[in-house]
Structures are given as structure tokens and as C-alpha cells.
């Protein structure tokens, strides 16, 4: 006897009325779970929207409180030697600080900078007459 075939071929019939009743019951369950799922989806949408709104508000708050005249403030650069006059650069205190900061190299650099500034100021102030005088042309004029 082929047991396998016997089990395969063993059929059952089902009551059509009960089939229909069970199917209707399942369809009701499906509709209910669908509604619940859509309600859950709505809640998630609200949560996502709220989260996005909070992020935007935080970004706006950051920009308004950390900027002035619509521009984000950048940290101020402390300009030490460039803003000082040649006299200040060559003062004893300034040279002493430069030595402490970087040794003789810093002192030399500071002198070079003072020299450069003096030269620049000389160039700016010199007139044509003075230049001619320096070249020995004063008497001719």
C-alpha cells in the first residue's frame, strides 16, 4: 500500500456557508488592522514633521543668536606685531617679550619688521623734491 499516495489523496470537503463566514471574518480583521496601521502611520508622520520643525527652529535660533548683521562671527585674530608702530616694536619690553616667545630669531624677525615699517613710512612721506635732493639734484632745480 502506498501510504504517501493515500495521505495525499485523502480529501476533505468544507461547508460553503462556514467558508464564507470565516472569509468575512478575516476580511473584517483585515480592515481593522488596515485602519490601525494607517492610524499608526499618521502618528509617525506627525512625529517626523514635529522633529523636522524642531531641527529647523534650532538652526534658525543658532543663526540669529550667533551672528551679527546677518554674518556669522568669526573669531577675532589677535594681531600683535603688525598693529604696533616701529617704535613700539623696538622698545625694550617688546623685544624682551619677543625673545621669550621665540629667542633670538623672534627678536631678529621683530627688528626686520620694524625696519620694513620704517622704510614703508619713509617711502610714503618722501616727496619728489626730497628724492631729488637725495640724488643731489636740488641745486639744479
Amino acid at each position: 500500500m502506498n501510504i504517501r499516495r493515500l495521505i495525499k489523496n485523502a480529501k476533505i470537503r468544507t461547508s460553503p456557508d462556514v467558508n464564507k463566514a470565516v472569509l468575512n471574518d478575516l476580511i473584517d480583521t483585515l480592515d481593522k488592522s488596515k485602519n490601525e496601521r494607517s492610524a499608526d502611520m499618521d502618528v509617525w508622520k506627525i512625529i517626523k514633521f514635529a522633529a523636522a520643525a524642531v531641527i529647523i527652529i534650532v538652526i534658525c535660533f543658532f543663526f540669529t543668536h550667533h551672528s551679527r548683521n546677518g554674518r556669522i562671527e568669526t573669531p577675532k585674530v589677535v594681531r600683535t606685531s603688525e598693529s604696533k608702530s616701529p617704535a613700539q616694536l623696538t622698545s625694550l619690553v617688546s623685544l624682551n617679550m619677543a625673545f621669550r616667545r621665540g629667542g633670538m630669531e623672534a627678536v631678529e624677525k621683530q627688528f626686520a619688521e620694524a625696519d620694513k615699517k620704517v622704510r614703508q613710512s619713509l617711502k610714503e612721506r618722501i616727496t619728489i623734491e626730497q628724492l631729488l635732493c637725495e640724488l643731489g639734484e636740488c641745486e639744479e632745480i
Partner: protein, 181 residues
């Protein structure tokens, strides 16, 4: 397989037609498995109803990895086990309350109507140990692989195969005297 995937996809979007198709496609197979495992008509009907209801409720998050029939058969087998366990715990049911599968008694709201061959088979299956019966029914009626049966029974594949073999041998010896060759 491809049709099942499509049906699941539609069911996830709330399609009633997909649900109807799945239900009509697998209803009889699941009822046969449940009736074979539980050997009790009303419990088998309840088990299949519960499985389909749970399946519909979880349809939104359901991901089909294997065959849908295998999945539903596993659900029916698990449900049948739970029902048997709870029946064993309660032990308040008298023998008169139990309505064996294949009996001539028919309730007005009875879902399963047995033919003679199924009644014979069901009575023979009732004599098998539960694990053997499960292995035989799930392999032949549920088209499940021994690997999946072993996973369900939390045992090795060899053991599941042995259970199936012993079950078939015992069924043959029971039915040999009852069914004409």
C-alpha cells in the same frame, strides 16, 4: 511561489481579493493538516481559523522568505501543539465532549466534512505518537522539508527523518488490515 509573493504584496496593501485567494488556496490543506494533527474536528477548525486571523493581523509586517504553504503549515502545527498542551493541562474535558475526526456526528456549523478515506486515515494517524504524526503530515500534506520539520520539532534532521519513517511504517501496518489493496 511568485504568485504567493504577489498575493502577500497585495495583502500588505489591504487587498481583500488577495486575502480571499490565499484563503481559498490554502484553506483545505491547512484544515487537513490540523485535522490530522489534532484528530478533533472542532479544535482543527479553531486552529485554522486562529492561524488565518493571526496571519491577517500580522500581514503588514509579514515578510515571505520560504513558501507560504510551509509557513502556514508551521503556524498550524504550532497552534495544534499549543492546543494539545493546554488540553493536557486542563484535563477537565470528558471523553464525551471530544468529537473525534471522521465521526458521523455533524454539527450544523461544522466546517470540515470528511470523506470515508480521510476518516480511515485520521483514525490511523490518531494511533501514532505525536512527533511521528507531525513529521508524516507536515512532510506529505504540508510539503515541508525535513530540515524545516526538524527546526519546528527542535531536533536534528536525522531524527525528523526517523520519525517520518517510523510513522509511515506504523501507518502501513495499521492500514494494511483496513484498506483493500
Amino acid at each position: 511561489m511568485l504568485e504567493d509573493k504577489l498575493l502577500i504584496w497585495k495583502l500588505k496593501r489591504g487587498s481583500r481579493d488577495a486575502l480571499q485567494r490565499i484563503y481559498e488556496k490554502y484553506r483545505d490543506d491547512m484544515l487537513r493538516i490540523a485535522a490530522g494533527l489534532l484528530n478533533q474536528t472542532s479544535s482543527a477548525e479553531d486552529a485554522v481559523h486562529d492561524v488565518f486571523t493571526a496571519f491577517v493581523c500580522s500581514a503588514g509586517s509579514f515578510e515571505l522568505t520560504g513558501s507560504l504553504k510551509g509557513y502556514l503549515a508551521t503556524c498550524v502545527a504550532n497552534r495544534a501543539r499549543n492546543m494539545l498542551r493546554s488540553q493536557n493541562r486542563q484535563r477537565t474535558v470528558t471523553l464525551g465532549d471530544i468529537e473525534p475526526a471522521g465521526s458521523n456526528f455533524k454539527r450544523p456549523d461544522q466546517w470540515i466534512i470528511y470523506d470515508e478515506q480521510f476518516s480511515l486515515l485520521s483514525n490511523a494517524l490518531a494511533e501514532l505518537p505525536y512527533e511521528q504524526k507531525e513529521a508524516v503530515i507536515l512532510h506529505i500534506q504540508g510539503n515541508m522539508k525535513f530540515r524545516d520539520i526538524a527546526r519546528l520539532q527542535e531536533t536534528s534532521i536525522k531524527t525528523a527523518q526517523s520519525r517520518y519513517r517510523y510513522g509511515i511504517t506504523k501507518l502501513r501496518s495499521i492500514l494494511d488490515g483496513e484498506v483493500p489493496k
